[in-house]
Symmetry: C2
Subunit: 152 residues, 2 copies
């Protein structure tokens, strides 16, 4: 598969939000309508101008088929180490089950190494046991609880 | 308790690294020696210059007794929402068991709300069941698995 990876641009925004909304959980959280709610563009501007964020799109034959966001968070812990965190991973529904997820994570792991991170982390909803199995197959260890406090 | 909160300065660095090292897991990860390894100062400089990071110290009677780092991560998900993440929380061993943790988390929750976050999240090691219980008492839900992939 000739997947290509690049940072998202403003021109990708509608496609990306479409991907985010095309998901069981995402459908209840997003507002995918045209014109897009302004909050998406506001968030994009902040993410794109932040050197510690990589909002990435994945293309296959010139078509946008997946997206994810990598964050590189600097801490004092681990002697001033960098943690990479991956979130908002979505593969287009028409392209699932074809190994894109594995390829994308292999890319993300390499990218995290290239940027000097000592760890790549994510949280996955316990309601998705197949996702946890997938992450374990990539070498992730489920050593932690992912605790969430919704503020609204 | 008259706790005061402020952003860490360079002058706090030795005290903070001392707190991070004064911990069962931290003892194996940190290098607390004087002069401090340069990587701590390098990380501090990056964190302090990042408007999305708040490396915070907590003082009691003018003494530094705790530290934590709040990160505000912008995503396109949740209609361009902000997630607050808390990490590297440490209370001085001489001051544990006195309710500082609860007070600090109440502050962090309010701070996350003030900055417009829709969620406050953290991961906690499954080897620390009492920590999970503590977070649950604050309203956190253990809905997710915290998956980690060490890269070194």
């Amino acid at each position: 598969m000739a997947l290509t990876y690049r940072l998202a641009t403003e021109a990708d925004l509608i496609d990306i939000v479409g991907l985010l909304a095309d998901d069981q959980l995402g459908a209840t959280r997003e507002r995918f309508q045209l014109p897009l709610p302004a909050t998406y563009m506001e968030a994009f501007t902040i993410i794109a101008s932040d050197q510690h964020q990589e909002l990435t799109v994945v293309e296959l034959d010139g078509q946008l088929v997946a997206t994810f966001q990598l964050s590189f968070i600097h801490y004092l812990t681990y002697q001033g180490g960098i943690r990479a965190q991956i979130e908002a991973v979505r593969v287009k529904s028409s392209h699932r089950g074809q190994g894109l997820g594995t390829a994308i994570f292999q890319y993300a792991i390499q990218r995290a190494k290239d940027r000097g991170a000592h760890l790549l982390q994510l949280t996955t909803d316990k309601k998705r046991p197949e996702a946890k199995k997938f992450y374990k197959s990539l070498g992730f260890v489920d050593s932690h609880e992912g605790m969430k406090l919704h503020l609204r």
